[in-house]
């Protein structure tokens, strides 16, 4: 737009917007003198000026409130921990890789956007007591941060071949079973909370959703004071969405959604019935999924150990027949997905072999 035309737009805009509302339309027509594109130009600006809720009326800092916890730089200290790098961020705050300078051990530190720890001593103790090969260990709690086991891995995402999916499902059920026995419910089971590491599955953030919700939350709901839902709705059990207290069976529902996702790469939920399991689907697999995904918790599996047993039986009955998987594409798929892990594992093996060789030679 040239300068002259812009000045025209500006003049008409100011004249019309200062005028009484009832006169605006006739004024606009009068000023534009049949120049339709000019009228449209001014009209579209007037529409924006009249729309309230202005993005530009709040300081930009408020918009950036999310970056609140960017405060920690490399080398910064949090108690005995030295920050090495930022590795993730999420609803609760930032996740850093850090060094525990006392033990010379790499840890993951999760900072929180609110200082919540004082209020949750009981919960953190319970979570710290979880000691399971497939659960990310909580090591320590600071005033507004959590120190956890550092895990290298990738979030568990489907679709995966049946055999592989069942193997991971077994590990997840094992972890759930162990935590449920200690009275701890995950409450926010979803792919981004499940890492695939060289040691297999690792469940992250066990029970943290509980801490987000708050112990004095007497209604026992998953709602915060502000009414925001905790957790990820599409993996959450209906009773969690309704605000009823989550229990082990809520995790079983989320596990069902997750298993569906891992098998098919697609979401499952109350509205998307278990339909498209593809070539690896069997009536038994469908039955297991449907039982996990029952809307009424009473009709679901009541314990993770039951799911685990059914999945194990399914695995024995189907996967052992060679036709069930195509080994070549399966193996390629695994390599493509996990090549970095495999490469590091191979590098480690070669490293150990070389070290071993030198050890034997020089001792």
């Amino acid at each position: 737009m040239d300068r002259e035309r812009w000045l025209k737009v500006e003049t008409i805009f100011n004249r019309v917007i200062d005028a009484d509302e009832s006169h605006r339309k006739s004024l606009l027509n009068e000023f534009c003198l049949g120049d339709e594109s000019l009228r449209l130009e001014v009209e579209s600006l007037l529409a924006q000026a009249n729309a309230s809720g202005g993005l530009l009326d709040h300081p930009p800092g408020a918009l950036l409130a999310e970056s609140a916890t960017v405060g920690l730089e490399q080398g910064a200290r949090l108690g005995p921990y030295q920050i090495e790098s930022l590795i993730g961020q999420g609803g609760m705050g930032m996740v850093y890789r850090a060094l525990d300078t006392r033990l010379d051990r790499t840890v993951a530190i999760k900072t929180s956007s609110a200082s919540f720890i004082h209020r949750f001593e009981r919960e953190t103790r319970a979570i710290a007591a979880l000691n399971h090969p497939h659960i990310c260990q909580l090591y320590d709690v600071g005033p507004d941060y959590l120190v956890m086991e550092y895990i290298e891995g990738t979030p568990l995402e489907g679709p995966l071949p049946l055999e592989e999916a069942l193997q991971y499902a077994d590990q997840i059920c094992d972890a759930l079973e162990s935590a449920h026995l200690k009275g701890i419910v995950h409450r926010d089971l979803k792919p981004s909370n499940i890492l695939l590491s060289i040691y297999g599955i690792k469940l992250l953030d066990f029970g943290l959703a509980q801490m987000k919700a708050g112990p004095e939350d007497t209604t026992g709901s998953d709602l915060t004071a502000s009414g925001a839902l905790m957790g990820t709705p599409r993996y959450m059990a209906p009773e969690q969405l309704n605000g009823t207290r989550a229990d082990a069976r809520s995790d079983i529902y989320s596990f069902g959604c997750l298993l569906h996702q891992v098998l098919t790469g697609k979401q499952a939920g109350p509205l998307t019935a278990v339909a498209d399991l593809g070539p690896q689907g069997s009536p038994e697999l469908r039955r297991i999924l449907v039982k996990c995904l029952q809307e009424d918790p009473e009709l679901r599996y009541q314990h993770a150990s039951e799911v685990r047993a059914d999945l194990l039986r399914l695995k024995r009955n189907t996967v052992s027949t060679p036709a069930a998987t195509t080994p070549h594409s399966g193996a390629r798929g695994v390599f493509a997905r996990h090549w970095k892990l495999i490469v590091s594992a191979v590098a480690l093996l070669i490293g150990s072999a070389v070290a071993g060789y030198f050890y034997y030679h020089f001792h």
Binding site: M1, W6, E10, F13, S37, L40, E41, S44, L45, Q48, A49, A51, G54, L55, L56, D57, P59, P60, G61, A62, L63, L64, A65, E66, S67, A68, T69, V70, G71, L86, I87, G88, Q89, G90, G91, M92, G93, V95, R97, A108, K110, S113, A114, S115, C136, D144, Y150, I151, E152, G153, T154, P155, K190, S192, N193, L195, L204, D205, T232, K340
Partner: protein, 192 residues
Amino acid sequence: MSESDGEITQLLQAWRGGDERALDKLTPQVYRELHQAARRAMIREREGHTLQPTALINELYLRLSDLRPVDWQNRAHFFALCARQMRRILTDMARTHHSDKRGGGAFVVPLDEAPEVGFTAHAEVIAIDDALKALALLDERKSKVVELRFFGGLSVEETAQVLEVSPETVARDWRLAKAWLLREMSGEAHGS
């Protein structure tokens, strides 16, 4: 009071005295000072404070003028310089964040799914910065009004002082500029 404070006041005086090279040295110093202040403010934000650019700029101004008698009376120009740096800082922060969320390295530990709100907020700050660049080509003064008001947190009167126009002009510029930017960001531009 740090050494850099003394250096900044010296540079400000030189700049006021007409030394344009002083501005080149001054700009990165002011950027650094405000950047640190913004980071500190954002840490405080964890406790429920909101980052107010104008508060940060005021803080820096007061600290500097505390150091020596204010013989650079032209406070407005200092604020204008700060507003520009504040814009850079905030958009840099938003861009860094935005690209982080688009996926950094392959090995990441737990990512909670970032709330939509945060994601769009960063995108919005970037969109405002981009739209503002387009506005500057069309009408430079209006883009400056937005820079001073939105990124610098200056009042209509302060903005008028910096731009040496009447407060009424600033108010009108601000009104049209906002409408233009919002339309630009909504992707419904007409006849431009």
